[in-house]
């Protein structure tokens, strides 16, 4: 009984200071656009933060299948593109704002992810990775040749009708809400039966199956949920860019980004993709600021990421936890 009590009582009391800090941080992020309202000049800050939120949402989503279940997907740009084109087409042909079609775009991505997962997740290990690459290439081929959505020239979207000074703000909030939702869902899954089963699958799928877990259904559900966030982000990002082109969305590079962010931050942890996304975007912007937007920013961030992965195999969160230095502030598992 004492052990049980320990398990139950282990956290709540200290959790309050942590929640307080995190809530304050969220509050600051919610109020930040006020700066831009009061005095112009913060569009760049809002833009960078928006990109960070987007990567947090997508990487946290990716982590549900790629981290918890250990199934590396390189197909997530397809859900991103699916969301972008779904909302983009509705905007162009129907005039419907992506701000309210974005959640539907997410659900479309979820449905598509579920259907694809039912087939692809029959396989295990490398075969699954290959199947997601195939999906990526197939989506490229389709979008390049589908004239109704612009083919390889892409599709121009009408600009959002806001004055330039404020036009980043709705995207900022859209991505912020998506990121918070992604973190919350990731957290809830990590602490649910599904999360326990996914982690069991990552460690030994045969054992998990023999223990009575419907491993395939768990994987498909995880994959479908993870597709949702890429879909929503795609819808918002496409609108923000004002044009859609297959080559923007459907690259192996974009797929690898999500893997890298998780590897750096800590794959399979709740906080990992959040840290990883902030670092990935932050580093990239820093290099671009210092030396300009050459290929160098990709090289430098790439190198730094390789170093982190080499010396901290569990990512930042994993490495700190192993050394028992993980601050409670970052221990969301």
């Amino acid at each position: 009984m004492t052990l049980l009590d320990q398990i139950r009582i282990a956290t709540p009391h200290r959790l309050e200071t942590r929640s307080l800090i995190l809530l304050s941080l969220a509050l600051v992020l919610f109020l930040l656009p006020l700066l831009q309202v009061v005095s112009d000049g913060y569009n760049y800050v809002l833009h960078v933060l928006m990109v960070i939120f987007m990567y947090i949402a997508m990487a946290s989503g990716w982590n549900i299948i790629g981290g918890y279940a250990g199934y590396t997907s390189l197909g997530h740009p397809v859900f991103f593109a699916l969301g972008a084109y779904f909302s983009g087409v509705l905007l162009v042909y129907r005039g419907w704002s992506p701000f309210w079609t974005a959640p539907i775009a997410g659900l479309v991505a979820t449905l598509f992810g579920f259907a694809f997962g039912l087939v692809a997740l029959r396989t295990r290990g490398p075969a699954f990775v290959i199947s997601t690459i195939a999906l990526l290439l197939l989506a490229q081929l389709i979008l390049d040749n589908w004239e109704w959505v612009g083919g390889s020239n892409g599709l121009s979207l009408p600009m959002i009708g806001w004055p330039y000074r404020f036009y980043k703000i709705p995207f900022y909030y859209g991505m912020l809400l998506t990121a918070l939702l992604a973190i919350w869902v990731s957290y809830r899954i990590r602490h649910s039966k599904l999360g326990l089963f996914l982690r069991a699958i990552a460690m030994d799928e045969t054992k998990a199956e023999v223990a009575g877990i419907d491993t395939r259904m768990c994987k498909v559900i995880a994959f479908a949920i993870s597709a949702f966030f890429a879909g929503v982000c795609g819808a918002l990002w496409g609108y923000q860019q004002t044009y859609l082109r297959p080559t923007i969305f459907l690259t192996i590079g974009a797929a690898a980004d999500l893997v890298l962010i998780n590897l750096v931050g800590g794959r399979g942890t709740v906080a990992g993709p959040v840290l990883g996304a902030a670092l990935r975007v932050g580093l990239d912007e820093l290099v671009v600021n210092q030396v300009g937007s050459t290929e160098l920013n990709i090289t430098v961030t790439g190198l730094l990421m390789v170093l982190i992965v080499l010396f901290f195999p569990g990512g930042i969160v994993g490495a700190l936890r192993e050394r028992r230095h993980l601050p409670r502030l970052l221990d969301w598992d």
């Binding site: 052990l3 049980l4 039966k193 089963f197 982690r199 069991a200 199956e209 009575g212």
Partner: protein
Amino acid sequence: MALLEVRDLTKDFGGLRAVNRCSFTVEQGSITALIGPNGAGKTTVFNLITGLLRPTSGRIYFQGQDITAMPPHRIARMGISRTFQITRELAELTVLENVVVHAARDGLTGLIRGSILQHEAERAMALLEFVGLAAMAREKAGKLSYGQKKLMELAGALMAEPRLIMLDEPAAGVNPALLEEIMERILQLNRSGMTFLIIEHNMDVVMSLSHQVVVMAHGEVLCQGAPEAVRQDPRVLDAYLGAA
């Protein structure tokens, strides 16, 4: 009616026939041992019964119901738990979590509930108490000794509230003190009605535990019977000693 009935079970791997028209039964409440020289096909039979392999032909009945080629998780849910010859612990999960993953659950809604429910934690702790691992409940499973992992797997198998427990070489690689412990637990569970099917090489263990022995060699069942009878059977002696 037997709890488990294997009828004409055959499994080919390419050109190799690993299991050839095997038939045997496991009676409710018994401890049945499955013995035979290395390569006889015992573990393959286990994998066929638990759904990890699909038989080439033949049927498997559990409680009178045909479970042939059902997916493993459904077979587990029907009441067959198993352990592995080389333990398969979920190394990064805690010992408690390793036991709780076996808990029965109900459909999709079950997935969004807390990872360890109160009643599951209590039951898992009671089982860990039973196998003497309660103090290790919060340790990573990877930290346990080999014998402790076997005990943890037994606790996990029990967590599923099975009707039949299949143990693949519970005695192998376990020190004598722990072996005593494991055997005592098996007997204790059997006295309260649990049925066991056990693969074992240690003949002392087989003779002292089992009510029924099924002998396999070269993928075939040589005979099934009481331990004393089987020990006298010339076919069994041939199989083990290789006398022509």
